[in-house]
Structures are given as C-alpha cells and as structure tokens.
C-alpha cells in the first residue's frame, strides 16, 4: 500500500540531481550531492527523452563524506527499475545489476532505491551523488534529467531540511 501521507513536497525532500539537458559528446554528468543525514532513504529517478540508437551512458552512484566531491567512492547497488514503454505504460521492471547499468532507450524512466544504511556511515560516508557517464555513440540526441526524492525523514513539518547541506 502506498503509505506516505499527505503532500510529497511536505514530507520528502525533492532535489534536482541533473537538470534536463542534452548530453554533450565526451562529457559525463555529475549529479547534485545530497545528504542522507536526516533521511533514511533516497529514490533516484532518471528520465531520458530523445535518445540516439546505439547510444549508452553508464549510471553509477557515489557515496561521499560531503555533498561536494571530497573522498567519493562507488556505492554498490544491486537492482534498478526501468520503464522503457513510457508514456504508453507506467509499469516498472526490476532488473539485477552490479553497481551500474546503462541508459540506452528513449523516453525511459529508471529508478534506483538506496537505503541510508547502504552507506559506509562508520567512515562518515553519509552523502550520495548520481553520475551519468559519457554517452558512448552519441551523435545528436541524448536528453536526460535526474532527481532525488528522499524519504523516511527523521524530522517532520512543512519546513523541509535542506538535503543539499550535510
């Protein structure tokens, strides 16, 4: 059952990870860093738009000790969900992975679910950042955007804490 109550904007920090853009040749996209210090979960939602055939961009997630790149290291995740039938369907398909997967389909939605306890907190890694690698094979179009929705906040109220501050 969908059991978060009331309005998302008043319950979960919503953060732009990567603003909508057309990827440039040989350029990777480093997402905004967000702190999980005050939330126990993050959903990373990535959307593609127009996308050249035979183009692939790898997605990885870093954990870090700060929201700005400091001593980042790869964060392992083992599953992602994708809907490559947008907008004709909203169904997400679960797929196993080993810490990375490729964006390779136009108009697709990809979701990664990360729990706060996935991070190496005992070494002060309490922040994450999504990175979209170089779009291999890119000719013209590789439109992408990403955002984070942080859930299970530890403190309530309409005035949300700023997850872009650690």
């Amino acid at each position: 059952m969908g059991n978060y109550a009331e309005q998302l904007v008043k319950n979960c920090p919503i953060v732009q990870g990567v603003p909508p853009q057309n990827m440039q040749v040989f350029t990777s996209l480093v997402g905004t860093g967000v702190s999980l210090r005050q939330t126990d979960h993050a959903s990373v939602i990535i959307q593609t738009g127009a996308w050249d055939p035979d183009t692939a961009a790898a997605v990885i997630v870093y954990e870090d000790t700060s929201v700005v790149p400091t001593v980042a290291q790869r964060l392992m995740f083992t599953r992602y969900w994708t809907n490559s039938a947008n907008p004709a369907s909203s169904e997400l398909v679960e797929t196993a992975c080993v810490g990375t997967f490729d964006l390779d389909t136009a108009n697709a939605t990809y979701v990664i679910e990360i729990d706060g306890d996935d991070l190496t907190a005992w070494q002060n890694y309490d922040c994450i950042r999504v990175m979209i690698g170089v779009a291999v094979g890119l000719k013209v179009n590789a439109y992408v955007s990403a955002m984070y929705v942080l859930g299970k906040t530890r403190h309530g109220g309409a005035t949300m804490m700023d997850a872009t501050i650690d």
């Binding site: 978060y4 593609t48 909203s90 929705v149």
Partner: protein, 167 residues
C-alpha cells in the same frame, strides 16, 4: 514526518509526464494518468537551461486516458517552487490564482503541484488528469515532467506498479 515506507517503486507509481526535451515553440501535453487506484499525485516539473519565456501551466481532468475523452480544467490553489535548485531543496509555497501560473524564466527551477484525487469531478466520470505546459515561444528551454502517484488503494508492489496510463 516522512512516512512512506520502504521503496518508492513498491509504494508509488512513477510516470513520465513528458520526457526531458528542448521545448522551444512547442506545447508539452503531459501523459494522461488515471487516479482510479491512487488518491494523490505529485507533479514535478524540472527546468534546465532556460533561454527565455514564461509558459503557463494548467491541469486538465479527463474521463479517460486514451482516445478523445471529455476534458475540462482541473482546479488547484497552490504550487511550490525551488528557484535555487540544484543548490537547495527548499520550496516556497505560492497561492495559485485562476488555476494557472507561469513558469519563471530561470534555469534549473523545480516546481511541484500536489493534487488530491477528490479534487477531480468523479461524479461526472472525470478520474484522469494531465499537466499541460504552454509553449515558451521560440526559446531553447529544457524541461522534464514527472508524476508520482501515491496513497494507492490496494496493497503491495503489484498495486503500486498498476499501469496508471490505463483507466
């Protein structure tokens, strides 16, 4: 308190309203979604690089997700904006007049609209809705839109995964 439990993909339906796009000169008519199985939808509009233009945002309610259903305006009274994105996630609550507002001509803004299912005219069969962004004019404006449907009426991953593009 943020009280949605576990994974969003297993509790909420996540749907592209419209994909990331350079919307120059074009209207973005969002995917029509059904609220038959959810009591709430959050509409998230992300702007990227923004040359100029302040396109109007409206909501439409529909009697079906497909074909040529009856449509009419859907009322809403608040919207939330974060003009400091991605450097912040703090949103400002702004009253909406006459069920429409204009996106600001600022790059990297995030705008959120919260819609309860009981604001739709279900009595007359309007149980679907979509967001519409007017053309910003001939400007290279990057934008994407997302729906997150919550408070599903049926439990479990399968319910959250229910295809909300089918009424």
């Amino acid at each position: 308190m943020g009280d949605y439990a576990e994974q969003m993909v297993k509790n909420c339906a996540i749907v592209q309203a419209f994909p990331p796009i350079d919307t120059t000169g074009a209207i973005q008519t969002g995917t029509v979604i059904s609220l038959k199985h959810h009591d709430h939808v959050t509409i998230i509009i992300n702007q990227g690089a923004w040359a100029a233009g302040t396109p109007a945002v409206t909501l439409t309610q529909d009697t079906s997700c497909v074909g040529a259903p009856a449509v009419k305006a859907l009322g809403f009274t608040h919207m939330y904006t974060n003009t400091a994105a991605p450097g912040s996630n703090v949103f400002v609550d702004t009253a909406v007049v006459a069920n429409t507002f204009n996106l600001t001509a600022v790059a990297n803004v995030t705008t959120v609209i919260e819609v309860d299912a009981d604001t739709l005219d279900a009595t007359n069969g309007f149980d679907c809705m979509n967001v519409v962004i007017a053309s910003p004019g001939a400007n290279a404006d990057l934008i994407s839109g997302t729906y997150i449907l919550s408070k599903s009426r049926y439990a479990g991953a399968a319910a959250a995964m229910r295809d909300v593009t089918i009424d």
